[in-house]
């Protein structure tokens, strides 16, 4: 009997390596997902069931009413509405300002343009902790405490990450488009809205997604600017729930699931844009 050929042993080694890799990835992947699975499972348990050791992975009788209970304990519907208002208006601001400023930085030539670009990069790198206290005081002076304004208005003045993303993307669009528009006598505004913007749809989608994420997940902003309960966002609502009724883990987990659901849906619907946005700019989004 002949010994196995060299090619066969190499193939075996490669298969074994790949199998090991899969095993490692599955185990790591599992540890990543387990907390989320736990959240879902716990949200359907009865109060006493949560504490049973060893852990029960499938609740005996799924308690859908936990979810209703969350809405009964706290005005979660109002929190959701508030969050949507802030998120949608804020995201609109991010997108519009990114379009204008990104266009200006990439397609128009004007003195000081490179300086503004450096400013853009600087605001990306500078720690914004130093802005916390003075910005609060500025908004207090404006009388904007306990309103949604501090959470929405700044987005309309441009977010560095979004402008950067839009600029980089637009720089990849051939300049002949603008030139054709100029020859036809179009103003910069028309070139932006009727030519560049439609062509930048992927970048717009990416900005919208990251901005949505940033506004939705924001905790410190609502924490320091919103004081009346009926203005709270979902983040604050969850914090309130876990603070006041923290021992009712099944309800807290139900509320967490409610909080996470829109994000999971968004992610699965728009996965490409998440990944592309990160790869394109090399930034993880802010």
């Amino acid at each position: 009997m002949s010994a196995p050929s060299r090619r066969q042993s190499v193939r075996w080694r490669r298969k074994a390596l790949r199998a090991t890799l899969h095993a490692l990835l599955i185990v790591s992947g599992f540890t990543f997902l387990v907390p989320l699975i736990w959240v879902l499972v716990t949200s359907f348990k009865r109060g006493a069931e949560v504490f049973i050791v060893p852990v029960q992975w499938i609740p005996a009788r799924p308690q859908w009413q936990n979810y209703l209970e969350v809405f009964r304990l706290l005005p979660f519907a109002v929190f959701i509405r508030n969050t949507l208002v802030i998120t949608v208006l804020g995201t609109m601001g991010s997108v519009v300002s990114a379009l204008f400023v990104g266009f200006s930085l990439s397609r128009l030539r004007w003195p000081g343009r490179e300086l503004v670009f450096v400013m853009l990069l600087a605001t990306l790198m500078l720690p914004d902790i130093v802005l916390l206290v003075p910005t609060f005081v500025i908004f207090k002076t404006l009388g904007w405490l306990n309103t949604f304004y501090p959470l929405i208005i700044p987005s309309w003045f441009g977010g560095a990450f979004y402008i950067f993303l839009m600029r980089q993307f637009m720089m990849g669009i051939p300049y002949e488009m603008d030139e054709a528009g100029r020859i036809d006598g179009a103003s910069s505004l028309r070139i932006l809205w009727q030519l560049l913007a439609p062509m930048s749809a992927p970048a717009i989608a990416t900005v919208a997604i990251f901005s949505f994420l940033a506004h939705y997940n924001d905790f410190m902003g609502p924490l320091i600017y919103l004081s009346s309960n009926e203005k709270f966002t979902v983040s604050l609502g969850l914090y309130w729930l876990s603070g006041r009724w923290g021992t009712l883990w099944n309800l807290v987990m139900a509320a967490s699931t409610i909080t996470l659901l829109p994000l999971v849906v968004l992610f699965f619907a728009a996965q490409r844009y998440f990944v592309r946005g990160i790869q394109f700019t090399g930034l993880t989004g802010r």
């Binding site: 997902l33 503004v116 876990s242 993880t284």
Partner: protein
Amino acid sequence: MVVLSPLPALRRRLPSGVRLREWLDGWLFASPFILGVLAFWVAPMLYSLFLTTQDWDMLHAPDFIGSGNFRKMLEDPLVRTSLWNTAFYTFLSVPLNLMVAFSLAVALNQRLSGRSVYRTVFYLPSITPAVASAVVWLMVFNPEFGMLNSILGLFGVAPVKWLFDTRIAKPAFIFMQLWSVGPQMIIMLAALQNVPQEALEAAQIDGAGSWARFRNVTIPMVSPALLFNLIIGIIGSLQVFTASFIMTRGGPQNATLFVVLYIYENGFSKLQMGYAATLSWLLFAIIMLFTLIQLKASRRWVYYEV
């Protein structure tokens, strides 16, 4: 009539017609951002500098105390505690995160089936809101019935107090932070996929084994991405807040009192705006210092393809 401009430079500086319109459009379209930087960066930073000289609780008029806040900061033991806590957390979690992100990226860079599924799995936790994450991990770390202790119990290990143990609270935070390596992993994966095949093949022809190829071709090629993740990671970690606010409020016994949390407490709990502003400038200076150090050191180990 021949127009001989005696000042060609001036003529170039003031164009007319289409060119001028492009200039004006440029400024106009960029104005939201320029105004935004003035209103939300420059003005607050200047005002914050001014605030450091004030003693102000927002209920009464501010009181000028010159360098009083700075002296207080130098004598405040909690400043040292919070700096130590933040440094411990940052300089352990950032390299750890980077290694995990890189390893996962290397693994996903192999020709495996189901890569996008793995990618989803590792990325998904990073989009959870910090609040939800904090609440979830509070449950995982719970000493009585939390998931971690039940799993340890299966191996016969005694339950750990996790967030209630002064020695384990910070490592617990570091462990928890690993959950959000998703974005970093994606950046490293993109960098790995950009390593030119020719370079790897050339090395292979020259007889380099896979580890040598990895060390001498792959790593230098992705070093800019590594540096970037390192810098952004450190800047972010030095400003950790939400998890410590929700989960431990700085406890147990100030073991998780991070700098930003301490700033928040001083500004919004104790209503000492001047002192809080001073502390935030301290953190700002520290972050800038570390960023500069990293950039200088990077010349030694980062390889840029010109």
